[in-house]
Amino acid sequence: MNPYGPVALYLCVAFAAALLFSVLPGLVARRKPNPEKAEAYECGVEPTSAVAGRFPVRFYLIAMLFVIFDVEAASFYPWAVQMHALRIYGLLEMIVFIIVLGIGYAYVWKKGGFAWR
């Protein structure tokens, strides 16, 4: 049997279990609605402004850097598995790749992409 068959079945069971946990509060938990309870929590005082939708733009930069570097990290995997067969050839190939990666990394570092302030 294809090993992914059981995995798919397991995922169905996990889905059902997680769904059960998610609908349970709607069925069992008591409800006593109250306008105060529906307010967003702000340490007890009334919310001073509309919902905050703003956060530092730096987080976007981190997300973009992640996408770039994670794709590059993923390309290490097939190479690593074949390393015993590729030997010196694979090593040189990968050193070239890492140098290219390193240039980009050094550029981001120099530009302050990793500094939080």
Partner: protein, 335 residues
Amino acid sequence: MQAALGTLNALPVWLLILIKSAVLLLVVVTSFAYAMLAERKILGWMQLRPGPNRVGPWGLMQPAADAAKLILKEDLTPKTADPLIYKLAPFISLLTAFSVYAVIPWGASPSGTWAIGNVNAGILFLLAITSIGVYGISLGGWASGSKYPLLGSVRSTAQMISYELAMSLSFVGVLILSGTTSLAGIVSAQATWWFFIPQCVGFLVYVVTAVAETNRAPFDLVEAETELVAGFHTEYSGLRFGLFFIAEYVNMLTVSCIATLLFLGGWNAPFGLTMIPGVLWFVAKVGAFMFFYMWLRATLPRLRYDRLMAFGWKVLLPVATLNLIVTAVVVALRG
């Protein structure tokens, strides 16, 4: 016993797999419940207090009492929240936390590996599924429509993706040595040397990133209560808060299982103590790693956020890359 086994084998294969899956999930949920109790007990002892000891003998019924309480508590949704995504987020967190166990092997017999599915691309499956877990946290904080959850969730998303990078690089050394992405294959490659010895740097990077990935102390910036109330789950109450809580502990277990499989020899017995079954060794190693987690929480203060990000990008990433280059050089020259 023999008769019972006979009936089991007579069942259709899919039904057998469904039963196995249900049993595995039960085991995972029970381990979560007692991991939580153990953490509270251990933290208590480390602070010279008894920990929970009122419900049942020695506090052993505490998880059941907590579960009953969480289920009965009111499930609040703030009026500023996006109701659908607000309810979907804890579901995503829990589902991804559970899903990982589809590929984790926890023992082996001559006839095969004890896993729901012993897939070839085991590590890739693990990384893919655990990455989806980030959505639960970022959507949960965003959909709450409140300040602190939003800040907590963008923080934790940035933290998790930054450390995920170093984590995936720390696996590469193990892949070079074992030459396979199958988890069972990696464990059998460790029959003589457990990989935490040749891969000590990779193991250290993995341990740090693992703690950061699960948002645990000293990297629990996500729920830095002095700044962000309770982080992304501030608005959640009752069982929906409980789902995030279960997901966090199940993720801790997952991370301990991965550490055991990739670096600590899986079910291989140390010192030739093979009369103790492999699955017990596996459980013991996972337990030891969990204890280490709790010990960290009792010992280390929280990091500052800018230092956390700088450490991930400027220290762990280069160290993990250097480790993989050195491993590759050694393998290329010595074979």
